[in-house]
């Protein structure tokens, strides 16, 4: 059981951004991706989620044996078990957090099943408390007027409420203050389980002190060029990416 990406190529317009990307995240593991700005990390997340602007030209993504890219609509992929905490979460004017997450929960149920509202709110409050999100956020429109850090916390709240099989966290740490980083990391760690895989995109090794990854990958130019353990993140932080690019050019 894994989230398995094989030889993935994807374009935006005529420009190829993902160029034969390979990656496998076995269930129960946390993998991190680091890489320069513009290397294609967010693109990978959006392509898997089915963002309409990107075109997959080659390759497969297999989620626990299911051909994820065969599902056309983003919501089908989500219900198959993929969750993305976005780098830049969208504002949804007029839709409250409580109604939004409730609709998402309802969508996960079989067609004739009705969500238990009392249970839902109890669950929501427990998870909001854990993430130190004030209760009055339930009635605020999704991400509208939220601070950068509040948006990220709200993404993790959704993650916790939807309990997906695989979660991609795209720079969830950026914009978080030191206390919030700890709170959010605790939230993510609490969700780590043998039944769930994580792909954590970050620029900062500090996040990986809190959410300790099993594997660290380096992305250059739309490919994973190097993988290693947590030490790799430390080395990247200390030395930057130049050596990676040199090494991979040398072996190419």
């Amino acid at each position: 059981m894994s989230l398995h990406i094989e030889n993935l190529h994807a374009n935006i317009g005529d420009r190829e951004i993902l160029r034969g990307l390979n990656l496998e995240i076995p269930k129960g593991e946390v993998h991190a991706i680091m890489g320069k700005n513009g290397s294609g990390k967010s693109t990978l997340a959006k392509v898997m989620a089915g963002h309409p602007d990107y075109e997959v030209t080659k390759g497969t993504v297999t989620l626990d044996g299911l051909a994820l890219l065969d599902l056309e609509e983003p919501d089908e992929r989500a219900r198959a078990g993929l969750f993305v905490a976005f780098q830049y979460p969208m504002e949804v004017p007029g839709v409250s957090i409580a109604n939004f997450i409730r609709a998402a929960r309802q969508a996960a149920l079989p067609e004739d099943a009705e969500l238990d509202a009392v249970e839902y709110y109890q669950d929501l409050y427990v998870k909001m408390d854990a993430l130190k999100i004030p209760r009055n956020f339930t009635s605020r429109a999704v991400n509208e007027g939220f601070s950068g850090g509040e948006k990220k916390r709200c993404e993790i709240l959704q993650l916790a409420m939807l309990a997906p099989k695989y979660a991609v966290l795209d720079e969830t740490d950026s914009g978080l203050d030191i206390d919030a980083l700890k709170i959010v990391s605790d939230g993510v760690n609490a969700l780590r389980s043998p039944d769930r895989g994580f792909l954590v995109i970050t620029h900062y090794q500090r996040l990986l002190d809190y959410i300790v990854p099993d594997v660290v990958h380096v992305m250059v130019n739309g490919q994973i060029v190097l993988s290693g353990d947590k030490e790799l993140a430390l080395k990247l932080e200390a030395e930057g990416y130049d050596w990676v690019e040199k090494e991979t050019l040398a072996t190419a």
Binding site: A49, G50, H51, P52, E73, P74, D75, R77, A78, R79, F83, V84, F86, P89, M90, E91, V92, P93, G94, V95, S96, N99, F100, I101, A103, A104, A107, A108, A141, Q158, L162
Partner: protein, 470 residues
């Protein structure tokens, strides 16, 4: 009466989109001439003054140009010669559902009308094409002296009240379509609430177009006598025909001193209907008239409910929601005429355009120079879903005199493909995501509706969104 029972079932897109064949006893045929009017008058046994009223209105209608210099050129696609102006099984509305002919009754049963009546209504009128098939009020309400009948019956049985107010709020020549309605009107409600009577539950009318190439021209007149209160709700549907259908109603409300009228419309016309309606209320001293108007469906809707605040302390309100799906145009708005001191009006308009749908808001607020203490508040908000949607706002606010206050706010928000993608990533299907955004946008208005209607409206929005993503 023969009934050819071949239901043409096609209910995928909307609850009203089905049709049973019905045998009509009276049919004025295609086209509109002085003879059509005579036919209608004969069937309805109209008094002479109504016959003259109708014939004069026909001349007026013929003399007035199509208002395409400001309104949609699509109006030119109405072919008046190809429309049938009167179709009925008789002019007498039944007082019990058991007496309603089977072929008509099952349509209303399928639309859930008798059930709603039992549950929460004080009275119901159900119009099928040109005439009310059913009309009844609860005994307790009737005993209070409340009159709730079809317009023909009102005219015959209560001429003293009818004639006093009929055509007084909306003159025949107000616009081309009010003239048309005045010529061929049939059906609609006549309601009188005696002084001090507060009708607890809503009165409901349901307008059903069943025939193809048909025009429905109901005429409603509601008079709330001093200190009385009433809530009236209307719903409407039609099956989806290949050809255009015309619905052109005139609704006049009269609220006497201290009276309150709330008039709620939830229209769900199929996308072939031209819906050209004139609605206006006359509010006397300290009286209040509130229009709550939800326009969903139709090909082109033109409707600008208004209130004339004739005496001191009168209040007028228009709350409207318009949803324009692909290929539809909702041209709606409000008219507030302040004609006395200390009158207040409030307009809240929300429009949603989807795909190639188009929404237009036209507002008119007039406060005369010699007046003082008048207030108007206008808010109009538009929500655009998908980039090619279109919205236009034409507020016309004429305020004279320094002692009056006017406040106007407008906003346009957009739901982009990116936002829909975000919602879908949480597992919410596209149609549901759009519904969620639309419901969020109109939520504060929907809360002003009686419960049953807010549920209905939400369901209609969901259906419309499902239809729009195909």
């Amino acid at each position: 009466m023969s009934t050819d029972t071949k239901p043409d079932l096609n209910i995928d897109r909307s609850i009203g989109d089905f049709r049973y064949d019905v045998a009509y006893e009276f049919d004025a045929g295609l086209g509109l001439t002085a003879r059509t009017i005579d036919y209608i008058c004969d069937v309805k046994k109209d008094p002479d003054w109504i016959r003259k009223f109708r014939q004069d209105a026909l001349k007026k209608f013929e003399s007035m140009p199509m208002p395409t210099h400001w309104a949609s050129p699509d109006l030119n696609n109405i072919v008046f010669e190809n429309i049938r102006y009167y179709l009925s099984q008789g002019t007498q509305a039944k007082r019990s559902w058991d007496e309603v002919p089977e072929d008509v009754k099952r349509t209303f049963e399928r639309l859930g009308i008798p059930e709603q009546e039992r549950k929460f209504l004080a009275g119901v009128e159900a119009q099928f094409d040109s005439e009310a098939a059913y009309s009844n009020i609860k005994a307790a309400v009737g005993e209070q002296g409340v009159i709730f009948v079809g317009s023909t019956e009102g005219l015959h049985k209560h001429p003293e009240i009818f004639r006093k107010w009929f055509g007084k709020v909306i003159p025949t020549g107000d616009n081309k379509f009010s003239a048309l309605n005045s010529a061929v009107f049939s059906g609609g409600s006549f309601i009188y609430i005696p002084p001090g009577v507060k009708v607890k539950h809503p009165l409901q009318a349901y307008f059903r177009i069943n025939a193809e190439n048909f025009g429905q021209f109901e005429r409603t007149l509601i008079i709330a006598d001093e200190g009385s209160e009433v809530m009236y709700m209307e719903g409407c549907t039609a099956p989806k025909f290949e050809t255009a259908t015309l619905h052109s109603a005139v609704v006049e409300l009269v609220a006497l001193k201290g009276a309150k009228i709330q008039y709620i419309t939830v229209q769900n016309w199929s996308p072939n209907v031209f819906n050209l309606v004139t609605k206006r209320g006359l509010a006397h001293e300290d009286a209040e008239i509130k229009w709550i108007d939800c326009n969903i469906g139709s090909r082109l809707t033109m409707k600008y409910p208004g209130v004339i605040m004739k005496e001191r302390g009168a209040r007028g309100e228009v709350v409207s929601i318009a949803l324009s799906g692909d290929g539809q145009h909702q041209d709606t708005g409000a008219k507030m005429i302040h004609a006395a001191d200390d009158t207040t009006s409030n307009i809240i308009s929300k429009s949603i355009s989807l795909g190639k749908g188009r929404a237009t808001y036209r507002g008119l607020v007039q406060i005369g120079r010699h007046l003082k203490g008048c207030k108007n508040n206008t808010e109009c908000d538009a929500l655009l879903i998908n980039t090619d949607s279109r919205t236009d706002t034409y507020p016309a606010i004429t305020v004279h005199g320094k002692e009056n206050a006017c406040q106007h706010e407008a906003s346009v928000s957009k739901i982009s493909a990116e936002q829909i993608f975000y919602m879908q990533q949480r597992g919410i299907p596209k149609a549901a995501a759009m519904s969620l955004a639309v419901n969020g946008f109109v939520n504060d208005l929907v809360q002003q509706f009686p419960m049953e209607y807010s549920v209905e409206l939400k369901r209609l929005i969901d259906l419309e969104m499902e239809g729009s993503v195909g």
